[in-house]
Symmetry: C2
Subunit: 334 residues, 2 copies
């Protein structure tokens, strides 16, 4: 239970007593969408060991930092990363202002509906599409374009808004950690400004607790008002070894808990779980082709091979979506 410093006076004991008598949820299951088993038990055991003042593994609240990958860890990432679907949709939305795109790749293929051909241009093509949809606009304009897309776009398979394809068990895990004074961060290979648009409402994670990939920005006065303009220049790729680097830049302290799902998260888990004291690393394994998708070693998205090979030796928990999760998505909001 969290007691603010201002209350740690003589009233502390009385308050704690009253709260424990009145709170009906104190002994409720904090992770109702997690099936009973070693993984659920390992999470609860870790939280109890690190938060009980009399535990040898106790960690002071300020150091209870937990980092979560986003794509494939907090929400789905098939058939394409959702930010890439945003980019494709946005190219179509912006096409009337760019008649030249009809005859210029990779835009022409996107407009003809041939995503595969558009993306065959590799990183260069992807960067061109990203720049066309993310740069040369203010951060506020960008936020609005993402908000508008989230409000209207629907996933081709589930028909859900993309921000309702988040994993209910992970929402519970985030809330459980926060209830125990962990500070939860997202550390994503996706765009920091893209994820910030929905992370607070969707995950309860504020913009200042998002670490991600970014393009550079400039500050200027436009029409007499200050604006931050997103530039067509890469700033940082927050993937693989970029994740511990990004964590250092933004957080400046080694987390004690990390969750991922792909080999893009390997270095983050390695960094987090090799620190001193109690540590927790987990990988969400997409092994449920009925309720979500099943993919790992050979996937072009969210490839997971080294993580599976080394999890046991590194004492990382492999979470089976099929076995560990009673539920995948939250009840749909209409």
């Amino acid at each position: 239970m969290k007691i603010p410093k201002s209350m740690q006076n003589t009233s502390y004991l009385i308050i704690a007593l009253i709260t424990s008598l009145l709170s009906p949820t104190l002994h409720a299951d904090p992770l109702p969408s997690w099936n009973e088993g070693v993984n659920k038990q390992a999470i609860i055991s870790f939280v109890e060991r690190t938060t009980r003042a009399d535990s040898p593994d106790y960690v002071v609240p300020a150091k209870r930092i937990a980092t979560f990958d986003n794509d494939g860890c907090l929400w789905s990432e098939q058939p394409l990363y959702f930010q890439l679907i945003f980019i494709i949709d946005q190219i179509k939305t912006l096409a009337p202002q760019h008649p030249e795109w009809k005859n210029t790749e990779p835009f022409a293929s996107i407009l003809k509906g041939d995503t595969k051909k558009a993306l065959s241009g590799g990183k260069k093509a992807l960067m061109e599409l990203a720049i066309a949809t993310h740069a040369n606009i203010s951060t506020e304009e960008f936020d609005q374009s993402v908000s508008k897309w989230l409000a209207t776009a629907r996933h081709p398979k589930t028909g859900r808004p993309y921000n309702q394809m988040v994993f209910q068990p992970m929402l519970e895990l985030l809330a459980y950690l926060r209830a125990n004074d962990f500070k939860t961060f997202i550390v994503t290979g996706g765009g920091i400004d893209f994820v910030r648009v929905f992370a607070e409402e969707t995950y309860g994670i504020p913009p200042e607790q998002i670490v991600g990939s970014s393009i550079k920005a400039d500050y200027e006065i436009r029409d007499g008002k200050p604006a931050l303009i997103k530039l067509p220049e890469l700033n940082f790729i927050d993937d693989k070894k970029g994740k511990p680097i990004g964590i250092h830049q933004h957080i400046g302290r080694r987390p004690i808990f990390a969750a991922g799902n792909s080999d893009g998260d390997f270095q983050m888990l390695e960094y987090v779980t090799s620190g001193k004291g109690a540590r927790f690393g987990m990988l969400v394994h997409h092994d449920d082709d009925k309720r979500e998708w099943a993919y790992d070693r050979d996937s072009h998205i969210g490839q997971l091979a080294r993580g599976l090979d080394e999890a046991q030796q590194r004492k990382w928990n492999i979470i089976s979506m099929k076995k560990d999760w009673a539920k995948i998505y939250p009840a749909e909001k209409k």
Copy 2:
């Protein structure tokens, strides 16, 4: 008063009642080292207007972001930025391992005690000195070198440890804002990793709430253990228009309160105070040559000219150290 979400149930009212009965400090002056006057009143009025639920200027807690410059705003910056004094001291400490420095500028002049000559090489010389003391070591090694310096170095004028040359009125302001659910950040032109070493203990600001200048870092496995190595390459300069850019990168949301002291903070205050709703901008004016230092328009450190010229028109508060502050530094800890 801050009540965690888990406690916002039926016990809320009872707890609030008991706390208000038991807490002896509830109606105490939150800013005892601030003299009564328009500036103190403006701060208190701003906090009350933005935090009272029935106020037209009410701001939800998640958006109560306050940003503070460090050098000259939270601690002194004369006769040289304290980080520069660290660099000079560190060059002397490291000299035995670098016999070549005796004959190489700017190191040779530093070792002869001629700081002025060493710094006459401008930005290039400064960068060489910074790289020699900040790069090619792990972040942990760097932290240790700063800690060791802070524990032993003393200011030439006051004889105090540098982290005891912080401004007592600003410590009270930080605490007052936090007690009202503001999240306080440092946004410094100084090195992010340098400030992180002492900011939590000194200011109550954790590493993840520091924005600053940085060099790049790499992640590697050293002796079987992951390490973050600081590289001899500039990453970001968090000064002037770099401040709103750094705020966007790290915080991702426009603060509603900003404090600075020099024209290096101009764009931060401009950005913060031009947003919608209630805003607060303040500049600490160093006008007290008895208790601290007096400098502004013509100073080579902490130059303040445009800020003074435009403060009235922009409704920024100019804080006079001489008139507004009853006290400069906290009581010295031995």
